[in-house]
Amino acid sequence: MVNTKLPLDALLRRRLVFVSGKGGVGKTTVSLALGLIAAQRGKKTLIAEINSEEQIAHLLEHSPIGYEETELVAGLKGLWGINIEPKRSFEEYVLLQIKFRQLYKAVFQNKYVRHFIDATPGLADLMCIGKIYSLVDAYDLVIVDAPATGHGIALLEISSIVANAVRVGPLRTEADKIDQLLHDPVRTQVVLVTLPEEMPVTEAVEMNQSLQERLKVPMGPVFLNQFHTDSFTASEKKELQKLTQKPSRPGLSKIVELQLTRSELSREYLQRLKEEIPDRPILTVPFIFSPHFGLSELETMAGVMENQGERP
């Protein structure tokens, strides 16, 4: 028997968790739910967004978080957030290396240098991942709400590319250290979020493959978000079939049909994930029925995620 509680415990014992997946699958909500669970367990936890439009602030009805680490929830100690801007990270990194702000200004406020830096692909990613690296020591757990698919992979890959391309110097030293952290299964896990729909599942399977085979980063569980549990027994379903055939209540029939299809699709795609990503635990995250999605819905979500494995 598979104990599904273990994967979550194992995940939260890391120092760095990358939450990745296709756009629109709920990476931010899953990151936050994991953050809530970790903080409630007494871990000082940081949730890092990358150059985002302040999604976390929006969800929590918080003022914009920005580049300074900020406590996210009043009354809940230990849950912090940051929105990492590559430009700020770059400045921070260079200042750390050359130590003189005057020199920094002289060099990096030069128009041509700015253009060169803007035009250098991968530099922004390297600076973001470098910033994340520098934050890991100050927290028990850093959860990165990573950019969608391709860009998320680029973020995990840039340090090894630089380590290969640069022979010596501080940039190389930095890249090596980051790369070691990203490939250390004791400290790091990458998790995928997906939905019980065709495209997100296909993309999760493909992404799992490139992360595992090409990037060789340590993988954690897959979260199947917005999962609809089947709430009807077999005999109830028979009763329902009769009901949906009656044209007298078309509205009700539609709602029932919708719910049945959704729970069936949830089950189908869970099965497909289990088959196509057989070596990873698949954890389901419930669909939350609510006219509003905020902190209390996140807490409900976190509660279900935590208790998922507590079966006899």
């Binding site: 756009g23 002289a106 991968g122 110097g169 009901l243």
Partner: protein, 366 residues
């Protein structure tokens, strides 16, 4: 005769429709449905899509084909429907093939990891490639209507910045300066820079301390190669941009009622407005419709457990209907007076064939 309104007018009057929006909102499906309707009404339409869901691709005959237009037979339709998959990565590789004649050099470029990373990461390049293809098809003039499905990211409109960014690479005098032969090989050659002011020396020494000259040299060679490859880029980018501003183009924003998707749609809306692109409206997909049923609709003669479950489901549904209604009114409030506001209800399953697209069109063209 019915009056042509909303989207009916759009598919009749426009020659290019661009569908934008965040991922997972049904953008590809909406683009395909619009092209289908235009074909049904007598136009020769083509839908250009980036990455369709597998089953929809199969239904449209795109699963086996590369990036060439493919006709989808529509018995009884007055017009014709074509579909084409845009493989933006291949377009990029082809650009290299076109510009680098030496096969050995080409191979070394394709195999260079730094290059691979760079080519996929140049902001907006993939999006730009899609636009360039659109422009090419438009110029060839084989179709009455082109419907483009843009990539599912917030970066989807970055192609608008691509010309500016590329100019930064190609017209970068720092780069030229970096590329002076022998600059990176040692101190001796730097003496040759005597004409350049002291500040430049300083810049070089900072770069050296950070990354080392050999890496910088490699990097600038890569950038120069890209610059070379992008020859004529600025002119083409200009032409694409001009095309997109024509009044026979229409930008549609597709969204779902989830708050994240609505935020994204409003962000796109702002970008479109800032760039003064011809905007035609919003499509809100997957909407839970209010007032479908109430607890009283649940029959009395069912077992108690089932009745309670059903009442629960009706309530759950109503909650989502409320949420969706709020989202749509937020969009209407923030999105100004767009000519088109269409909502499509949430269907029970995925839309993955022509019948599914037709069902969507009952709402899109109601």
């Amino acid at each position: 005769m019915s009056v042509t309104t909303g989207l009916q007018r759009v598919i009749k009057d426009k020659r290019i429709i661009v569908c934008s929006g965040s991922g997972g909102v049904g953008k590809t499906t909406a683009a395909a449905a619009i092209a289908l309707e235009a074909a049904q009404r007598g136009r020769k339409a083509i839908v250009l899509t980036i990455d369709p869901a597998r089953r929809l691709a199969t239904a449209m005959g795109l699963d086996t084909l590369g990036d060439t237009p493919k006709e989808i037979p529509l018995p009884g339709a007055r017009g014709r429907l074509f579909a084409m998959m845009l493989d933006t990565k291949r377009t990029f590789d082809r650009l290299i093939e076109r510009h680098i004649a030496d096969p050995e050099k080409r191979a070394s470029i394709f195999n260079n990891r730094l290059y691979q990373h760079m080519s996929s990461m140049i902001a907006g390049s993939q999006e730009y490639m899609a636009m360039e293809k659109l422009h090419e098809l438009y110029r060839e003039g084989d179709y009455d209507l082109l419907v483009l499905d843009t990539p599912p990211t917030r970066h989807a409109l970055d192609f608008l910045d691509a010309p500016r960014k590329m100019v930064n690479i190609t017209g970068n005098s720092l780069l030229e300066w970096f590329l002076k032969p022998g600059l990176f090989t040692g101190r001796a050659s730097r003496i040759g820079l005597g004409v350049i002011q002291k500040g430049a020396e300083k810049i070089l020494s900072v770069f050296d301390r950070l990354a080392g000259f050999s890496f910088l040299h490699e990097l600038s060679e890569m950038l120069s190669l890209l610059g070379h490859m992008m020859g004529g880029f600025h002119e083409r980018a200009q032409a694409v941009s001009e095309l997109l501003h024509e009044n026979f183009v229409g930008f549609l924003l597709v969204t779902s009622p989830s708050s994240v998707a609505i935020q994204d749609a409003l962000y796109f809306y702002e970008r479109i407005a800032d760039e003064k692109l011809p905007f035609v409206g919003f499509i809100v997909n997957r909407v839970h419709e209010a007032g479908r049923a109430s607890a009283e609709d649940v029959p009395q003669n069912l077992s108690n457990a089932l009745r309670l479950k059903l009442i629960d489901q009706v309530r759950n549904y109503e909650q989502l209907a409320q949420r969706d209604q709020k989202a749509v009114s937020l969009l209407k409030r923030m999105g100004g007076k767009a000519p088109v506001y269409v909502t499509i209800p949430l269907f029970a399953g995925d839309v993955h064939d022509l019948d599914g697209l037709r069902r969507m069109n009952e709402f899109l063209f109601a």
